[in-house]
């Protein structure tokens, strides 16, 4: 049956959903509506290789326009500002009407913003999209001292890149460790050491009381009355799901759009995927919201299958990475509910991994190493985790024993 399928949001989840629908359904119309006038592009390089000029804009696109044309996927740059779920219609700012049979919402997430009580809110820069990355790249070019508020993935990746551009970087983090929301302290401390060795200043346990501007220089006043002088301020303090459009509708929201394991929302024929979802994960038997490359891709693919009528549960074990300096950090599974930690390795040159176990069953791992050194073992851990494997701790802790053995034993 030929349907009108609309994908609202032209990011990674949206494009992967579109192509997956097309693989399973050659008949239906598929249209991506995107706020950004850019084909779907990869975001991870924005804070790294794009700032460092190792990748340019053309390197970031997932697919060319020809690929979309060949697969008969329409892409339109439009700002939707009203939704009528009852009549299955979307309305643009210019009052164009888009009617759908099935709708996928993949609107992603927005930056949380600092709220300063003076008129300096526009003096703080954020990095989520290509436009923002371009602005930061251009603005920092003639600056020296850069302060980054927030010691999470994005802040630290920018800190790493700007340090490599010979900037003097200070990172201010409110928590008592870097990346405290998801990364175990043991690994966070190793990352912190590298930043300090490379010349970055890391300030923990401090809040911003005030930012003032004097003669073009910013003074950041911290809650211990210390003052950081800086030429430029960037904040990376987390994100919120992009759900503003749906706030006065009957779409169920709770820290994002609530979906089941099939990417279905509370409204029939309306699906959601990616950062915007608070989705039910059958393996963990609870809802969660994830912001990562792997999740955006796989969740988009899963939504695409379900929209095309191929009923598919979303069961991916979470996995994410961050690249800072020459280090590659990876996390798999959920590492906040454990009763035992096993360490493997103690040198980042060959990789350091902490495995998290509960009732002897492996639940996840977090590792850090020079590019790629922990990848294989982290990937194996994902596989062991999804099978609820009871692991031989001796093998886990001995870097001379390959973990492949643990998979093959099953």
């Amino acid at each position: 049956m030929k349907n009108n399928i609309i994908i609202l949001g032209g990011g990674q989840a949206g494009i992967y959903a579109a192509r997956e629908i097309r693989q399973n359904d050659t008949e239906s119309n598929i249209k991506i509506l995107s706020e950004e006038n850019l084909l779907p592009y990869e975001r991870p390089p924005l804070s790294k290789d794009f700032l460092l000029d190792k990748k340019n804009e053309d390197d970031l696109y997932f697919h060319s326009i020809e690929v979309l044309k060949n697969e008969n996927i329409d892409f339109e740059n439009v700002l939707i500002n009203k939704v009528d779920f009852e009549h299955k219609k979307l309305f643009s700012k210019n009052e164009d009407v888009y009617t759908y049979d099935s709708l996928l919402i993949s609107t992603g997430s927005d930056n949380k913003r600092l709220s300063l009580d003076n008129n300096l809110n526009d003096d703080v820069y954020y990095l989520r999209n290509l436009e923002e990355a371009k602005i930061i790249k251009e603005k920092v070019s003639d600056k020296n001292k850069i302060t980054i508020i927030g010691g999470g993935f994005i802040g630290l990746e920018i800190a790493s890149s700007l340090s490599q551009l010979q900037k003097k970087v200070t990172v201010i983090e409110i928590g008592n460790q870097l990346m405290g929301r998801i990364i175990p302290k043991q690994i966070a401390d190793l990352v912190q050491n590298t930043h300090i060795e490379q010349g970055n200043e890391i300030i923990l346990n401090k809040q911003i009381d005030k930012i003032i501007k004097k003669n073009g220089i910013y003074e950041i006043l911290l809650n211990d009355n210390s003052i950081i002088e800086t030429d430029f301020v960037i904040a990376g303090i987390g994100s919120t799901p992009s759900v503003k459009l749906f706030e006065n509708t009957n779409l169920k929201l709770d820290n994002g759009i609530v979906t089941n394991q099939f990417c279905e929302t509370s409204i029939k024929d309306v699906y959601a995927a990616g950062d915007v979802c608070n989705f039910y994960h059958p393996f963990y038997e609870r809802n969660m919201r994830l912001e990562s490359y792997q999740h955006a891709q796989n969740h988009g693919i899963c939504a695409g299958k379900n929209i095309a009528g191929v009923k598919t549960e979303y069961t991916s074990i979470p996995w994410m990475w961050s690249d800072q300096f020459n280090l590659n950090l990876q996390l798999t599974g959920i590492c906040d509910d454990y009763d035992e930690i096993i360490a493997r390795g103690n040198d980042i040159n060959s990789g350091v991994i902490y495995f998290f176990l509960k009732n002897k069953i492996i639940k996840g791992a977090c590792g850090l190493g020079i590019a790629g050194k922990v990848g294989r073992d982290i990937r194996i851990t994902s596989k062991l985790t999804e099978k609820n494997t009871i692991v031989d701790k001796q093998i886990l802790s001995d870097q001379n024993q390959k973990l492949n053995k643990l998979i093959q034993k099953q």
């Binding site: 891709q297 990475w321 590659n328 790629g372 922990v374 990848g375 294989r376 990937r379 492949n404």
Partner: protein, 105 residues
């Protein structure tokens, strides 16, 4: 096919089944794999970002990049899963007297 292009990598027992070794020759890096049905060779650096595939996971006929989980078919070099999108170059392999050789062009 001239004989001088075949470069000796090592003995067949230097690679476990469903595993790989890295092989450096002149200024290039290769990966040589032992799969259930024989030996194969590809470039040793991921086409996505410059990372050594020697630290990747071999599963069936596939090698997964250790840094960002791009996946390639070892036999054809085809990029199967993003972020990898450019295929990996493959090389002919032969075994002679329990020694592995790859043909580098």
């Amino acid at each position: 096919m001239s004989e001088e292009n075949w470069i000796e990598v090592g003995s067949t027992d230097s690679i476990e089944e469903e595993d790989l070794i890295r092989f450096d020759h002149q200024d290039k890096t290769f990966c040589v794999y032992r799969l259930t049905d024989g030996f194969y060779a590809t470039d040793g650096i991921c086409t996505h970002e410059a990372v050594h595939l020697e630290d990747g996971l071999v599963m069936d006929d596939e090698i997964e990049c250790p840094m960002h989980q791009g996946i390639f078919n070892i036999k054809s070099g085809e990029a199967l899963s993003p972020p990898a999108c450019e295929d990996l170059k493959t090389y002919p392999v032969k075994v002679d007297n329990d020694k592995i050789f790859i043909k580098i062009d």
